[in-house]
Amino acid sequence: MSAELKQSGDKPNLPPDTKMIEVFIMGKRYKVPATLTIQKAIEWAGFQFLRGCGCRGGICGACPTIYRTKDDYKLKIGLACQTVVEDGMYLVQLPFVPAQKSEYHIEDERPTIAAIEKHYPETFRCVQCNTCTKACPMDIEVMQYIAEIIKGDYKKAAELSSSCIMCGMCAARCPAELQQFNVAMFVRRMYGRHVLPKAEHLQKRVKEINENKYIPFLDELGEISHDELVERYKSREWQPEPYEDPNWQPKETKYL
């Protein structure tokens, strides 16, 4: 863990009935409030994060943590910022997993089996043990997307792996030494570039931005008072959920 023990004289200011539990951070015992996430418990214990902490919101993939809980042999993996501590938990963070990342030009490759053989040949070593899936803190069916890649089904593989946060736990646990998160990224790039239809509305919008369509609107916002800005923010229009009407438009259409 890239963290240091921060010696501070600050006294904790806790309500008197706060439940405290024991956790073991890299083997050393600490008493921490029972309601904290692993991330906050590590900080509570006096560590300061230099690595292994990013968005604090379960998206960036920087804080995967390996832990075991009391009386359970199962090795568990969770994001430190999303997992609540338990009494008797042993934990260590693994902020980075070494893996090879193939270099290629996206226009030179195609979504084929041959491309996988070229860039991530170890993918075919998979024995379908499913250890990767057990390791995934995002509950992705990792083994299944690898199975789809081996079949050559880029669509299914891209869809199954789409919520990957690239923490690398699958690759760290894999007995066949695959690099799941990187081959999945390759598959999603190929799928996005060569299979999915191009988003025409996006190209239109990028063109408008490049033609400075929005500069006057921004200038206008820059000149109005703070109070008016707050007012406009509060009264901004939302498309009513669950977004069922594809023809919905706001009352003010000049920004479209």
């Binding site: 299944q144 199975a147 079949k151 050559g152």
Partner: protein, 292 residues
């Protein structure tokens, strides 16, 4: 009749002609091949190490998928998938301790209860429909087509999973006879195609292909028929290199049995996927008047 079907990875790639011709011909036989809703690689090669359970996870996991889909039987086509799935299944039936260990390891899945049966399509047709029924459904008999049947190793070995007699198998011959084909006596039907040597030591395979095709030709065959994408690659696609190495070599079309089945049952020619066969079988089929 809905039949649970395990395709295998190769049938989704280089052997697509095997899959599409099987689905089409089975439909004509009244069998609706229903692909498993989820599946993974069969494991490719059955592990022979007695202490190795890891490599049996892949086939057994697929049999759990059969269970999940509510089937008791699964049909497969590729010889390798058949061999691996069936052998692993036999092992689970024989060794409950091993099955328990594997079920424990796969705790995220439902437990495998080893009462799923693995079938090769040829056996399934024989046992469930019978050749009389097949004969009734033939629209375009393969009259005059001389066929050498090639089994290779994986459909016949080991004893516990063999489709038919190991030394004198007749099951595919019987099916093709029902389709009206003329079966030639081909003593090389259970010899090795060279298998994976095709990658590292291609020469071995070219030697085998030269031998196996030349003998089939000498015995009077027009085409060679098989059921294994690996054998097909070696015996069909490697004819190109064989011809380079042995200039007197005479090529011969190699077909999946399902391609002939589809033609005989009156299926669409497009559903045979002949464009994926290296040696074009259309000329000989036309010459015999089997297709227009």
């Amino acid at each position: 009749m809905e039949v649970s079907y395990f395709p295998g990875c190769t049938l989704k790639q280089t052997a697509r002609n095997f899959e599409i011709s099987a689905i089409s011909s089975c439909k004509l036989l009244g069998l609706d091949l229903t692909e498993l809703s989820r599946w993974n690689c069969c494991g490719t090669v059955y592990s022979l190490s007695t202490d190795d359970s890891m490599h049996h996870l892949a086939p057994i996991r697929n049999l759990i998928r059969v269970q999940e889909d509510g089937f008791k039987e699964v049909v497969t086509l590729c010889s390798m998938c058949y061999n691996t799935l069936k052998q692993a299944n036999e092992l689970m039936k024989k060794e409950p301790d091993r099955l328990k260990k594997m079920n424990d390891f796969m705790y995220r899945e439902e437990d495998y209860i080893p009462d799923v049966e693995v079938y090769h399509l040829v056996t399934y047709i024989k046992e469930r429909l019978g050749y009389e029924k097949v004969r009734e459904l033939v629209k375009q008999p393969l009259t005059g087509l001389k066929v050498a049947v090639y089994y290779g190793c994986l459909l016949l070995r080991p004893d516990s999973i063999k489709l038919d007699d190991r030394e004198n198998p007749m099951i595919m011959e019987d099916l093709l006879t029902a389709l009206g084909a003329e079966i030639i006596d081909y003593p090389f039907s259970n010899e090795c195609c060279g298998s994976y040597h095709t990658l590292g030591q291609k020469e071995i395979v070219l030697n085998r292909t030269n031998k196996l095709i030349t003998e089939a030709r000498r015995d009077g065959a027009d085409v060679l028929v098989l059921s294994c994408p690996e054998c097909d690659f070696n015996l069909d696609h490697r004819q190109k290199d064989t011809l380079e190495k042995y200039p007197n070599f005479q090529t011969m079309p190699v077909l999946y049995f399902t391609q002939l089945l589809n033609i005989a049952l009156g299926g669409n020619l497009e559903d045979c996927g002949f464009e994926l066969n290296y040696i074009d079988p259309l000329p000989v089929l036309r010459e015999k008047g089997i297709i227009k």
